[in-house]
C-alpha cells in the first residue's frame, strides 16, 4: 500500500521509529481532510443518478438530467452566464495584463492600492456599492440593470486577480531581454509584443481561467447588479437551493463541476505542452 507512507522527506535520522509513526499519522490525517474536501461533491454527483426523488438509492436513472436540460430558465441562465463570463474574461485579461506590465515598469501606488482594495473588499460590499453607483448613474444615463452592468461588475473584480497572476510571472522576467530588443531597434510596443508577451503567455492563460471561473460562479455581486432579463446560472441555482433539495439541481451541479474540471485539465495539458 503506497498511499499513507510519506516518501522519506523527514528531517533527522531516517529509520527513527517515532518520526516514521509521525509521518504515517500525518498521511492518514491528510487522507481524512482530502475526503472531507471531495466526498460531499462525489455524493452529490452520485445522487444525481438516483431514480428516486428522496435521498435513498433506488436505481440508476438519467431522468434528472433530462429534467434539468428541459428547464428553459436553466438553459437561458446558462447561456447568459457563458456570454457574461466570455466577455468579462476577455476584457479583464487584456486590461489586467496591460496594467500588470505597466505597474511592473513603474509602480503606481494609486492603481496598485485600488487593486489591493478590490481584492480585500468583501463581495457583499462590492455588490451593494456597484448597485448604488449604477442606480445613481441611471439618473443621467437612460439605462437599466442588465447584462452590461453584470459584465462591467465582473470585469471590475477580475482585473486585480489577473494582474496578481501576471505580476507574479513578471517578477521572474529579466528586463535585459527587453532592453536587448530595444537596442536591436524594436519599438517599445513591438518589444512588449514580441518578447515580453510570449514569456507571459502561461500566466495570461492561467489568469484568464481564473477570471472565467470567478465570473461564472459569482452569485453575491451578480444577484445585486443583474436585471430581470439577465438571470445567471448561479442565480437560478441559488433560487432552486433555497426552495429545497431537488435531484435536478444535483444533475446541474454535476454538469457544472465536470465541465469546469475538464476545462482546468485541458488548459493544464495545453500549458504543459507549450
Amino acid at each position: 500500500m503506497k498511499w499513507p507512507v510519506s516518501s522519506g522527506q523527514w528531517p533527522a535520522k531516517t529509520g527513527d521509529r517515532g518520526q516514521r509513526t509521525g509521518a504515517s499519522v500525518l498521511a492518514w490525517y491528510a487522507l481524512l481532510i482530502y475526503a472531507f474536501l471531495h466526498v460531499p461533491l462525489l455524493i452529490l454527483a452520485i445522487f444525481s443518478f438516483n431514480s428516486s426523488k428522496f435521498t435513498v438509492w433506488q436505481g440508476f436513472s438519467l431522468d434528472w438530467y433530462r429534467a434539468a436540460f428541459a428547464d428553459r430558465d436553466l438553459i437561458e441562465a446558462a447561456a447568459n452566464s457563458l456570454i457574461i463570463a466570455a466577455c468579462a474574461t476577455v476584457l479583464a485579461t487584456m486590461v489586467g495584463t496591460l496594467a500588470a506590465y505597466g505597474l511592473w515598469k513603474r509602480s503606481s501606488n494609486w492603481l496598485a492600492g485600488s487593486m489591493y482594495l478590490s481584492l480585500v473588499t468583501p463581495e457583499i460590499v462590492t455588490g451593494v456599492s456597484l448597485l448604488a453607483f449604477f442606480q445613481w448613474s441611471f439618473r443621467f444615463l437612460h439605462l437599466r440593470l442588465g447584462m452590461h452592468t453584470v459584465i462591467l461588475a465582473h470585469v471590475g473584480f477580475s482585473i486585480a486577480y489577473v494582474a496578481v497572476v501576471v505580476m507574479a510571472r513578471l517578477r521572474g522576467f529579466d528586463p535585459e531581454l527587453e532592453e536587448a530588443a530595444l537596442d536591436l531597434g524594436a519599438t517599445e510596443w513591438s518589444a512588449f509584443r514580441r518578447v515580453t508577451l510570449p514569456y507571459l503567455m502561461p500566466a495570461i492563460a492561467a489568469a484568464a481561467m481564473l477570471a472565467f471561473t470567478v465570473s461564472i460562479d459569482d452569485y453575491v455581486i451578480t444577484s445585486l447588479v443583474a436585471g430581470i432579463d439577465s438571470q445567471t446560472l448561479p442565480m437560478v441555482i441559488y433560487a432552486m437551493a433555497r426552495r429545497g433539495v431537488n435531484p435536478a439541481l444535483n444533475a446541474v451541479s454535476t454538469v457544472i463541476v465536470v465541465a469546469l474540471g475538464a476545462m482546468v485539465m485541458i488548459s493544464e495539458r495545453l500549458r504543459r505542452r507549450a
Binding site: P40, G102, L111, T126, I237, Y238, A241, S253
Partner: protein, 281 residues
C-alpha cells in the same frame, strides 16, 4: 526597473484602461456608498437629505451590535478551525516529495469548482431528510432526524469547507521554504517533537499563518451566501444584514453605513496583522 525611455505615453496607454475601470467599479461606487451612509432613506427606497449620522448610531443598537459580534465570532471560529486543520495538511504536502504536485492540486481543485454548488452539497448532506439523517435512521441509531442544518455550526462547517484551501496554500508556501536544518538543530539539541513544532516550526511559519488567517477571516466576516443557505433565517450575519437593507428593507443609507463598518473592521485587521515589508497578496 526599466523606464519607458522618457516617453510617458506608452505607460499611460497600458495603465489607462485599468485605471478607468477601477474608477468605475471601485472608486466611484465606494464614494457613493460613503455619501449614502450619511443620508436619510426616502419613502420609496431612494436617498434624501438631510445629512445625518443616525445610520451609524443605529448600529450601536444592541440588536445590530449583536449581529456584528456574532459575525466576528463565527468568522473567528471558522478561521481558527481552518488554520488548525490546514497546518498539518500543509506540512504533509510540503514533505511528500515527488507527489507534492498531485497533493497540492487536490487542495486547489475545489477552487475551480463552484462555491455555490459546494455549499449546496452540504445542504444535501445535512438537512432533515438528507443523506446523514437518512442513513442514521436506517441504521436505527436515531429515531428523529438530528437538526444539523440552519444553525451556527452548519455555517461554520460551510465556511471551513469553502475556505480551507485558502488557509493551506500560504502555509504550504512558507513550510516549503523552511530551512530543514533548523528543525534538525532543534532535535539535535534535545527538543522533543512537540517543542520543535510549537517553538521552532510554527514561529518560523508565522508569515504564512498570518496570511492564511487574513485570507480566510476577511471573506468569512463578510459572508452572505453560506449563512443564508446553511444558517437559514436564524443566523443573520452582517453580510445578510447589508444585503437585506439593499433589497427587501430598502433602507440604503443604513445598509451603506453597515458596509462601511464591515469594510473598516476588515481594513483595521489587515493593517494590524500585516508586517512591514511582508506582502500578503
Amino acid at each position: 526597473m526599466v523606464g519607458f525611455g522618457g516617453r510617458a505615453s506608452i505607460r499611460i496607454a497600458f495603465l489607462t484602461p485599468a485605471a478607468v475601470l477601477m474608477l468605475l467599479t471601485l472608486v466611484a461606487p465606494s464614494a457613493i456608498i460613503v455619501a449614502y451612509s450619511f443620508l436619510t432613506h426616502g419613502a420609496y427606497g431612494g436617498v434624501e437629505r438631510p445629512f445625518t449620522i443616525e445610520n451609524y448610531t443605529r448600529l450601536y443598537d444592541p440588536l445590530y451590535a449583536a449581529i456584528l459580534w456574532r459575525s466576528l465570532w463565527i468568522a473567528g471560529v471558522a478561521t481558527a478551525v481552518c488554520l488548525a486543520l490546514g497546518f498539518p495538511l500543509a506540512l504533509f504536502i510540503s514533505r511528500s516529495g515527488a507527489r507534492k504536485n498531485l497533493y497540492l492540486s487536490l487542495v486547489i481543485l475545489p477552487f475551480w469548482t463552484s462555491f455555490l454548488i459546494r455549499t449546496y452539497a452540504w445542504m444535501f448532506l445535512l438537512r432533515d431528510t438528507g443523506l446523514i439523517n437518512t442513513a442514521l435512521q436506517a441504521l436505527h441509531l436515531i429515531r428523529a432526524p438530528l437538526p444539523m442544518l440552519y444553525n451556527d455550526g452548519a455555517v461554520i462547517l460551510g465556511l471551513v469547507y469553502g475556505f480551507l484551501p485558502f488557509a493551506v496554500l500560504p502555509m504550504y508556501a512558507t513550510l516549503e521554504r523552511l530551512d530543514q536544518s533548523l528543525l534538525e538543530a532543534a532535535a539535535d539539541l534535545g527538543a522533543k517533537p512537540r517543542d520543535t513544532l510549537f517553538r521552532v516550526m510554527i514561529p518560523l511559519c508565522a508569515p504564512g499563518i498570518r496570511a492564511a488567517a487574513i485570507l480566510v477571516f476577511v471573506p468569512c466576516l463578510g459572508t452572505y451566501l453560506t449563512s443564508d443557505l446553511l444558517g437559514g433565517s436564524k443566523t443573520i450575519l452582517i453580510g445578510n444584514l447589508i444585503q437585506n437593507q439593499f433589497t427587501a428593507s430598502r433602507d440604503w443609507p443604513f445598509g451603506a453605513a453597515a458596509s462601511i463598518v464591515l469594510m473598516a473592521v476588515a481594513m483595521i485587521l489587515l493593517f494590524a496583522v500585516r508586517r512591514r515589508g511582508e506582502e500578503l497578496l
